[in-house]
């Protein structure tokens, strides 16, 4: 608990490290912070062209919202995923990348991975804001669910923060990790219903006579998160309680494990780097 107190008292350090990431990232670029919007827009365009026009992926009609727009449906799942992926990736490398700082100054090391959550969280907030405006224009009526949306965003941040904390420690011992995780994250995205609807998996599993595949597939925490986000933002209804509960459990478990692993190994970091 003393460590937690120390972390709390370094709130300003956290804020400043986050600001350093946010401000430093797009310095000396013409478009500046706009890049953080251009990136997801370009991704949206690519996936829309490939999956909606070329592969003719089945369009999901929002129930009860009646929305029928693939790019908006896609973004409700893709933006949370991009956030989680970035947090995991940069949380993992934050310790190794700031090695010189760790070897010279004392401060709660956890501030570094958490600052990654903060800086990508800031970008994500802006992206989600833009998406919600686009959804509102398209006729989505998500307003009463806004608190639940914000709560789920918080849970996803906790979940990815925990994963990042564990990987940050592992990466100090085994630098292979960052390359391995790059591949794993790519596979993870295709194992989650982000660019395709989960109904495709359900149909395929039933057709093959192995409905257990769906149960296995749904163990993936990102599946729960993207389902919840789509329920709230695209379909405009409350998600099933089971899904919300699963998100909550995943978030708390991941953060608790991440915190435990990190705080236990923190003191050795300066020596190992």
């Amino acid at each position: 608990m003393t460590y937690l107190n120390e972390l709390m008292s370094s709130r300003e350090l956290l804020a400043n490290l986050t600001a350093r990431e946010v401000k430093g990232k797009y310095r000396r670029t013409v478009f500046g912070q706009l890049w953080s919007l251009i990136n997801p827009l370009a991704t949206m365009l690519i996936y829309t062209i490939v999956y909606s026009f070329i592969f003719r992926a089945r369009l999901e009609v929002g129930d009860p919202s009646g929305l029928n727009i693939y790019p908006l449906w896609l973004m409700c799942g893709l933006l949370p995923w991009i956030f989680a992926r970035n947090v995991i990736n940069s949380g993992m490398t934050s310790i190794v990348a700031n090695g010189s700082l760790i070897k010279k100054v004392y401060f709660p090391r956890m501030a570094l991975p958490i600052a990654a959550v903060g800086s990508f969280g800031f970008t994500w907030l802006v992206e989600m804001g833009v998406l919600l405006i686009a959804l509102a224009i398209a006729g989505s009526n998500f307003w009463i669910y806004l608190p639940v949306i914000v709560g789920t965003m918080l849970l996803l941040a906790m979940f990815s923060c925990g994963v990042g904390l564990v990987l940050a420690i592992v990466n100090v011992h085994f630098r292979d990790m960052q390359h391995l995780v790059g591949i794993a994250l790519q596979m993870w995205m295709y194992l989650s219903p982000i660019i395709y609807p989960i109904s495709l998996v359900e149909d395929a599993a039933n057709k093959a006579g192995h409905p257990w595949i769906l149960t296995l597939y749904r163990l993936n925490p990102i599946e729960r998160f993207s389902t919840v986000f789509r329920n709230l933002m695209y379909d405009n209804r409350l998600p099933e309680w089971g899904d919300l509960l699963a998100c909550l459990v995943w978030a708390c478990a991941s953060l608790a494990i991440g915190y435990g692993v990190f705080s236990r190994n923190e003191k050795k970091l300066a020596e190992l780097l």
Binding site: A15, N16, V105, F174, R175, D176
Partner: protein, 242 residues
């Protein structure tokens, strides 16, 4: 209790020297869990006390454990045995301008560096003018620090560190980098700190600097304490061995 700023009790620090280290996944899997290593004790049973309001120097040959001890004092390394007790607020300056972001302006970096050193935003804001004038960077304060001369960079880093008015300041060989004017200014600053009852612990290879600035000295040799106490006799004893 009141006249001791830092007490070091039976401090020992061990490093593992790996002959074959498992820092890739492949080698860990191939060799199993075992990695081959030897223990190296960089510090062995070191105990001394630093009186409040003194300027305390650590001397010794290369590899005698000075830097390890300094890093233990700065809480960067953790001792394997013994403990260090610091009474009051501590800041350490092992490198000037730690965490400076080259693309950010001097002003932004002062706030960033200040918070890394444990100062609050309020404190930095209050002392901002003092920091800038002590560093002597003038109008450059709103320029990115990558455009600074190395002297300006060092001065700005040093100014932020001493602005925190720590009760105990731990300093590595940072004074060697500035020009004569800056070094003189540092000495004046350290003297002021001593008059205010603050403690400075420093490492230097230049015996003349140590003789000039320190009133208390600890002499380390091969990880063991050879002597500690008033500066002159300890420096004499050390000089006799060189």
């Amino acid at each position: 209790m009141n006249d001791v700023a830092v007490s070091v009790e039976h401090l020992a620090k061990r490093f593992r020297m790996y002959h074959e280290q498992n820092n890739t996944l492949k080698s860990a899997v191939m060799r199993g869990k075992k990695s081959v290593h030897e223990d190296f004790w960089a510090l062995k049973d070191v105990s001394f006390e630093v009186p409040r309001g003194s300027t305390f120097g650590l001397i010794g040959r290369n590899g005698s454990g000075k830097s390890t001890l300094l890093k233990c004092l700065a809480k960067i390394l953790y001792p394997d045995q013994g403990r260090i007790q610091v009474h009051g607020r501590q800041a350490s300056l092992l490198e000037v301008g730690s965490g400076f972001h080259p693309e950010l302006s001097g002003r932004e970096n002062v706030f960033l560096n200040g918070s890394i050193l444990g100062m609050t935003k309020k404190e930095v804001t209050r002392k901002f003018d003092e920091i800038v004038s002590f560093a002597g960077v003038g109008d450059f304060i709103d320029q990115p620090v990558k455009n600074y001369s190395s002297g300006m960079y060092v001065r700005l880093g040093f100014s932020v560190a001493v602005a925190g008015t720590p009760d105990v300041l731990v300093v590595d060989e940072v004074l060697a980098v500035g020009d004569a004017t800056f070094q003189k200014r540092c000495r004046t600053k350290f003297r002021e700190m001593r008059e205010e009852g603050r403690t400075v612990i420093l490492v230097s290879h230049s015996l003349s600097t140590v003789r000039d600035m320190c009133d208390q000295v600890a002499w380390l040799d091969a990880g063991q304490l050879r002597g500690a106490g008033d500066a002159t006799p300890v420096i004499e004893a050390y000089n006799a061995t060189v």
